[in-house]
Symmetry: C2
Subunit: 222 residues, 2 copies
C-alpha cells in the first residue's frame, strides 16, 4: 500500500491555509492535485515534513514553494489526525495558516498553468481530504483574532490608506463599519504611523498614506 511505511508509523505532513485579499474578497490558495487519491481535485498546499525539519520550517517551505513568499505571518492552527483521513495510509497533518499582502503576489504563482488558484472563501470547490474542515477552522481563527489582535495589519502593503484598512476589516468580518469610529479605534492602537504622502486615486480628495509601525508584529489588544 504505502510506499515505504511500516504500518506502525503514520506519515507527517504540514498544510497551509494561505489567505489574501483580492478583488474585494477574502481568498485562499489552492493547488490542483496531480496524483491519486483525489486526482485533479483542489487541495491545500502541503507535503511531508522532512526528517530533520521543524514543523514551522516545513510549513514555511510549503508556503514558499506554492507562493514564492517568505517572511509573512504564519501560525500553527490545529493538528488533524483521524485515521482514514487519507485513504492510503495514516497521515497526521499539522495545519498552519498564513496571511499575505496582495501586493506581494505579482505572479499568479503558477509553477505550471492552472496548477494553483485563488478562491473566494464562499466559493470554494470541493476539496480533497479533510481540507474543507481545515479551511473552515482557519477562517474561524482569523475572524476571532481580528477582534482581539492587530492581525489585520498583516494584510497591508508597505503603505496604505485608512479606507483600505477599513475595507480589510469589512471583508473579513463581512459587515460594514462606521468610518469615524473605525479611524478613532485604529489610531488608538498606536500601531500605524501617518506618512506625509498621499495617494491620488480618481477624481476626489487624495488619501493620506499610513505605514505599519512594527511590521511582522501582532499585538493582543483590548
Amino acid at each position: 500500500m504505502a510506499k515505504n511505511a511500516p504500518a506502525s508509523r503514520p506519515a507527517i505532513t504540514t498544510n497551509v491555509v494561505v489567505f489574501t485579499l483580492r478583488d474585494d474578497k477574502l481568498k485562499l490558495l489552492l493547488v490542483r492535485r496531480r496524483k491519486d487519491p483525489f486526482k485533479d481535485m483542489w487541495a491545500l498546499p502541503g507535503g511531508a515534513v522532512r526528517p530533520n525539519e521543524d514543523l514551522d520550517d516545513s510549513a514555511k517551505r510549503e508556503l514558499e514553494v506554492s507562493t514564492g513568499l517568505s517572511g509573512v505571518y504564519l501560525e500553527q492552527l490545529y493538528t488533524f489526525g483521524a485515521p482514514g483521513r487519507d485513504p492510503r495510509e495514516r497521515v497526521i497533518s499539522v495545519a498552519y495558516y498564513a496571511l499575505v499582502p496582495t501586493e506581494r503576489l505579482h505572479l499568479p504563482t503558477a509553477s505550471d498553468t492552472q496548477a494553483v488558484g485563488w478562491f473566494a472563501l464562499d466559493e470554494l470547490p470541493a476539496l480533497a481530504f479533510d481540507h474543507a474542515e481545515m479551511a473552515g477552522v482557519a477562517h474561524q481563527r482569523l475572524s476571532a483574532k481580528l477582534a482581539y489582535s492587530t492581525i489585520a495589519l498583516q494584510f497591508m502593503p508597505e503603505k496604505f490608506t485608512l479606507s483600505e484598512l477599513q475595507n480589510v476589516y469589512e471583508l473579513i468580518l463581512n459587515e460594514k463599519l462606521d468610518k469615524r469610529n473605525f479611524r478613532k479605534r485604529v489610531r488608538a492602537l498606536d500601531q500605524i504611523d501617518q506618512t506625509d504622502e498621499v495617494r491620488r486615486n480618481g477624481s476626489h480628495r487624495p488619501a493620506r498614506l499610513y505605514r505599519v509601525t512594527n511590521p511582522g508584529e501582532v499585538q493582543i489588544i483590548r
Copy 2:
C-alpha cells in the same frame, strides 16, 4: 538507536496537561519517568498514539490511564515537533490540556507509589523533554480562555457555592475580585442554577449551593 523506527518516520505521541485546583492552588499532574531518557524526572503524562487511534482518543486514553477519569474537559493545545526534542529519535507530540474537578480525584491516582503527583504551577520541578514549555502554553491558554468563555465551570463539582467559584477565578487569574460584581456577572451568564440546598460550613451563615446548567459545555462569552 531507536528500537523499531525507520529514520524517515517520526514517532507520534500525545501529552496531556491535566489541571486541577487543590489546596487553593492551580496544580497539574506529573508522572515520574521510569526509563531513560530523563529517568526519574517528572514529565507530563503521555504516550504513543496507537495505529488506529484518533488523536483525541489517544489523549483521552492517556488521561484515563493517569487519573482514572474520563468525561472531563479536554482540548487540543499545540503540536510540538522540533527535531531533537527527544534525544533518541524524532518525536512529534500533540499536546492537549484537561480540566478536572478536584472532587473527582479521590485517590492520589497512584498506579504505584510516588509515580504521579500534583504540583503547583509556580513550584514545578524540572521537567523532561520540552514539557515545561507545554505546561506554560497550556497555562496561558487557560488564563486567556477564562476571560472569554465559561471554562472555569469545568473545575466545579456537581454542587458548589459562589464563593468557591469566585475562588477558582481568583486562583487562576491570581488576583482578588469584587464579590458583588463577580456575582452579578456570573449570574448574568445564565450558566448556573440555584438549588434549594445550602452548605453549612463553620460558624457562619450557610452558603447557597449552585449547579452548572449545562455541564460539559463551554460557552464563548462577551
